[in-house]
Amino acid sequence: MGRKAFGILMMVLFLGLITHSTMAADLVISFAGGAAGDAVKDCFIKPFEQATGLKVGFEATHEFSKLKAMVQSGTVTWDLAEGPSIDFVILWAEEGLLEPLDYTIIDKKGLYQETLHKYGIGKAFYSTVLGYNSARYPKGAHPTSWKDFWDVKKFPGARCLRNAPDNNLEFGLMADGVPPDKLYPLDIDRAFRSLDRIKPHVKVWWDAGAQPAQLLTDQEVDMASGWNGRILYVQKQGAKVGLEWNQGVLMFSSWVVPKGAPHAKNAMKFLNFSHQPKLQACYAAAVGYPGVSVKAVDYLDSKFASDLPTYAENYKKQAVMNYEWWRQNRKKVEDLWNAWMVK
């Protein structure tokens, strides 16, 4: 008898333990871990909890397939998730995986309007830029364009590009002489023909965002495409790595609300809360990826602001990714990319 009661007690405790993190919360957010995840907690979640008294649970994961599994099985536990770029957000919305955002709660004023979409809203801007070994190519004599990246005679050394069509098609076209503001619609054939020329010199094709910065730090490669925040991070650690803003491709990640999210309204409130310029400045300072609030820059040290992709001087040097083109061509381009890679 006593044994049975003990067993039931243990069972209750166990169930309580596994459900605690999500059951007790008024809002559950999923986002990538690491430095960016810590910044979400410190800059957005903690102040939100203090201001509203709501309890926020979170899950550090980057597996988007989990979102699809949740929605399809009708067991959605996330209210807000860090999503990929807007072209994917639209594809997911078409599959019925996302809840439309409530712009009566989210105030559009003071935000970068191009990041506001029916099913997704900008989380942070980031740029895929040209990173280089600054010991081998000193500043001033370093590669400053994709033409230079492609020029293995003028700049000998091992290259590193991403194993994905994203940005690489744009880089190929810029290396072939297309100006950054005349890229779209992308000439796919021309891009691949240009990529053919650099292919033999690419030693590593990266998959994870941390790779190019690490490979540059270890001097395993001499030039790489990489996300500006990752390169900035290793620079701060003292690595001999340089970053060229010219012809970088500017993009933004996004927040999405899964279809059937139990606390969708709180998710909207959280998004609106997180748009305060001061909080956005906190996030940008922590990771080097500025959010969607235009005024955030007023709260940043001007010396630091120059490291951000949205800083006026940097902004005008970059190309801006056209999500509409990518949405229309994504499936075709992914297949072409795989075929090209193994050719």
């Binding site: 988007f64 699809k68 091992a158 994870a208 193994v342």
Partner: protein, 283 residues
């Protein structure tokens, strides 16, 4: 002999197996079946995913690459693992315990850390290149990493225990008196090994190779991080379909083709090496 064992089993033996069967039914058979259905319904019945897979030269090429890499890794693991398993059989139990710890130790390290460790060893500024350049043997660093060589080393490092343990358990079961008998009949040590010990250890070779091969077919992290463009394996394309493109129908079809190929390998190995001895079929 098998028959006698089965006859001597009572009903309660079969009852005891029910929990395992129920477990397998719910957590293995059912998901597998569901995945198969996903691969042929998109949303209505279709074979387009399988047709796409078998017509697309990209996927066929990558499947072939995966197959070849798994074979190279399996043979390498066998060449390294067989002497290790043999040694484990020869040494004192105390020494064996220490050696076992060395074999199992890599299991306690994250695969990412192990992969990165190989980059540190094999890289341009890595230990091997630094020593060779320091000695003046080479003037430019050797390309040791981001190719088939580094992928093979990284995978063998991870998979070696799966080769060593089946080999060891089979070798332990070999009656050592048979070797002595061979000596008595005038065999040299090498002849005794080739004619007596090695053939008796073949089920271990088969089991170890099969486990390593199956695991190698599904490898993802090591080829992605230590490999180059020529080491793109099917698991990498599968991951992208499932996690990024969210095309589960096509992803499931890839998984099923992979499973089918693995089953073929299993069947071949079983026929030639009599694997059922490992699982206790006939002794």
């Amino acid at each position: 002999m098998t028959g006698k064992i089965l006859q001597s089993r009572s009903l309660s033996d079969y009852v005891l197996i029910i929990p395992v069967l129920v477990y397998l039914l719910f957590f293995f058979i059912y998901p597998l079946l569901k995945m198969f259905l996903i691969s042929i319904f998109d949303p209505s019945f279709t074979l387009k995913n399988y047709i796409r897979l078998l017509q697309d030269p990209t996927y066929l090429k990558v499947i072939f690459t995966t197959f070849r890499l798994s074979l190279v890794v399996t043979i390498s693991s066998l060449l390294v693992g067989y002497p290790v398993a043999y040694l484990l059989n020869c040494v004192e139990p105390k020494v064996r315990q220490v050696l076992m710890i060395f074999i199992v130790l890599p299991f306690w390290t994250s695969i990412l850390v192990r992969v990165y460790a190989w980059m540190v060893i094999l890289g341009r500024k890595g230990i091997i290149n630094s020593i060779l350049m320091g000695l003046g043997l080479i003037s430019t660093p050797l390309n040791l990493v981001f190719n088939t060589f580094s992928v093979t080393i990284g995978m063998v490092h991870f998979l070696l225990p799966f080769m060593v343990f089946p080999l060891y358990s089979i070798m332990e079961g070999i009656n050592k008196d048979l070797i002595k008998a061979a000596y008595n009949l005038g065999a040299t040590p090498s002849k005794a090994f080739i004619k007596v010990f090695f053939p008796l250890s073949l089920p271990g070779v088969g089991a170890g190779s099969l486990i390593v091969f199956i695991l190698a077919m599904g490898f993802f992290i090591t080829p992605a991080l230590l490999g180059g463009r020529r080491n793109i394996v099917i698991a990498m394309l599968l991951e992208k379909q499932v996690n990024v493109m969210l095309n589960w129908s096509f992803g499931s079809a890839i998984a099923f083709v992979l499973l089918f190929l693995t089953l073929i390998m299993f069947n071949i190995s079983n026929r030639f090496l009599g694997l059922d001895r490992i699982w206790g079929g006939k002794s």
